[in-house]
């Protein structure tokens, strides 16, 4: 597999001194640890981009008998695989980040929620945890810090994309169907077993450890004003060098495509099935929270690809993965899929296409959770940018 860094040489994660972040954190007060994370501008690396420092601060301030740090390793977004690589190669860094988070918010227990599809990583992770217990990096009095006790357990997912949504993940941990909750209350005060809980992406926790080791200023030295720092990207599809890449946020799509050998692309899906499809005319746009946001998934579509087929694939995905709880998402996605079938057969009127767009926009507004709200994005952006390609097509057109 290809793992390439924005700078020459290996990923930042590979160049970190083991436990430097944890040692630095334990020398600081809890408040100072959170202040450091806040100052760094770190935002959630799973895709939603919520400021990590704010989340930690809220959980630290919340009252509860037991607080929890949950590592969201339910990496299910189509086209995303960087968390698998991080857990395979840099699991210690993730555990270090979790331990720092536990110290910062006053939690004694961490949980790694690992997706069922990654069950083969579990023995490796159990080994890492056992080794950390042996080295007193977990357990009571971590690294000699009196009164600080922290341990991590692994819980397995069972094949449900929606469980990547933090409240659905908590429902799943509690032994329920993975159906998202209404927010508020937020997990930072009413999370796992109704206790204050932070749910952070695998990559976010690894960066938190790096930030404590190297300082907020170092991290802010990368990226843009609103999107600080480095980010791992999972690149797949029609390019010469697919794999995991590290780039600063704010990189343009064109620059990224050049690195991965995908200059020929006619479109790029940024942010997975829940993200948006950007045509060539948008390749100067920046991948950052203020422009094209992403959890790191970049799927490249070559000149020969049928974009309607792409839209169909994404909608089939959402029809399957919708939890069925709210109507816009449960009923909307099959309706959009039917629309794609009409387009495939060349039998969709302009008026009906407008209806479908309206339905998509309603789903964005009216769905309960992020899954439903983002499920029509790919369809809408493909309809917007590739109308010439998908309308009035001959019924026998072959799928790409």
């Amino acid at each position: 597999m290809k793992v390439k860094s924005a700078h020459e040489g290996p990923l930042t994660f590979a160049r970190m001194e083991p436990e430097a972040g944890l040692q630095a954190a334990l020398r600081k007060s809890r408040a100072d640890v959170i202040a450091e994370i806040s100052r760094s501008g770190l935002k959630g690396r799973g895709g939603a981009g919520f400021p990590t420092g704010v989340k930690w601060n809220l959980a630290a301030a919340a009252r509860g008998e037991r607080k929890f740090v949950v590592c969201n390793a339910d990496e299910g977004e189509p086209g995303t695989f960087k968390d698998r690589v991080i857990l395979s190669d840099y699991a210690d860094l993730v555990c270090e980040g979790m331990t720092i988070a536990g110290y910062a918010i006053g939690a004694r227990q961490g949980i790694i929620y690992l997706r069922g599809e990654y069950a083969y990583l579990r023995p490796h992770l159990e080994g890492v945890l056992a080794e950390r217990r042996r080295k007193n990096l977990l357990g009571s009095g971590v690294l000699g810090k009196e009164g600080f006790q922290f341990d991590i357990e692994i819980r397995m997912g069972a094949g449900a994309y929606v469980c990547g949504e933090e409240t659905a993940l908590i429902e799943s941990l509690e032994g329920h169907r993975g159906e998202p909750r209404n927010r508020p209350p937020f997990p930072v005060d009413t999370g796992f077993n109704r206790q204050p809980t932070i749910v952070n992406n695998v990559e976010t926790l690894a960066w938190a450890a790096c930030i404590l080791a190297r300082g907020a200023e170092w991290f802010k030295g990368f990226g843009t004003e609103k999107s600080a720092g480095l980010k791992l990207f999972s690149v797949s599809g029609d390019c010469q060098r697919p794999g995991v890449y590290e780039f600063p946020l704010g990189i343009t799509i064109a620059e990224l495509l050049k690195e991965v050998g995908g200059e020929e692309a006619k479109a790029v899906q940024i942010g997975g099935a829940a993200g948006q499809c950007v045509p060539r005319s948008g390749f100067q746009r920046r991948i950052a929270f203020e422009d094209v946001a992403t959890g790191g998934s970049v799927i490249v579509f070559g000149p020969q690809r049928d974009m309607l087929h792409v839209a169909r694939n994404f909608l089939e995905f959402f029809c399957e993965e919708s939890c069925g709880q709210c109507t816009p998402c449960r009923a909307g996605n099959p309706k959009l899929l039917e629309g794609v079938e009409l387009l495939e057969q060349g039998r969709c009127s302009t008026a009906y296409l407008r209806e479908l767009i309206g339905l998509g926009e309603t789903m964005q507004l009216a769905s309960k959770c992020g899954l439903g709200q983002s499920s029509p994005n790919a369809f809408l952006s493909i309809v917007e940018h590739f109308r010439h390609e998908i309308m009035g097509r001959a019924p026998q057109a072959v799928r790409g």
Binding site: E77, F81, G116, Y120, G159, G237
Partner: protein
């Protein structure tokens, strides 16, 4: 003394409840253990688990039906899950799918008559840079070509002969 199937299941589930605790959050780990050992979660198992955790059996069924890795229907010793999401699709999953159907003699969603193989679709396995990809139980295969399909199936049959599925089961359960 004659021990019936359901009595054995009862003992097994009681042991799991001791291990994971008798609270609701133990439900998923218990179900996952049963799924692994028996390839399905029977109505009896659901009833016993419900009794142990003090919840209604419908709650248990609701959870079983929600997650794609849990099944009330019997599944084969080897569950083959082929990724159908976009990157694997672009990489040619359709051809792999046809060859799997041809070599196993079943369609997606079905189990072979000998109870060895179940064929299913999966959504994004996180192997997007190495597609097409599939899982056989917990093992992942990448960069598939149609001619590799036969070898994968044969390897499963050979593994089964040495009871490798039981060995793999132990570390998690």
């Amino acid at each position: 003394m004659l021990v019936t199937e359901s009595e054995r299941m009862r003992d097994e589930l009681a042991a799991l409840a001791r291990r994971y605790g008798r609270q609701r959050s133990a439900l998923l780990p218990m179900l996952q253990a049963v799924q692994r050992r028996h390839g399905r979660i029977t109505p009896t198992a659901m009833q016993v688990i419900a009794d142990l955790l003090g919840i209604h059996p419908v709650e248990v069924y609701g959870v079983v039906s929600f997650y794609s890795f849990l099944s009330a229907k019997p599944q084969g010793r080897f569950v083959i899950r082929l990724c159908r999401t976009i990157s694997c699709d672009l990489a040619g999953r359709e051809q792999i799918a046809r060859q799997l159907e041809n070599d196993l003699g079943i369609a997606f969603g079905e189990t072979t008559a000998d109870g060895m193989f179940t064929l299913q679709w999966a959504n994004c396995l996180g192997m997007c840079d190495q597609g097409p990809a599939l899982l056989v139980n917990e093992r992942v295969f990448t960069r598939l070509t149609p001619e590799m399909v036969h070898g994968i199936i044969e390897e499963c049959r050979a593994l089964f002969g040495v009871h490798a599925t039981q060995a793999a089961e132990e570390h998690v359960v």
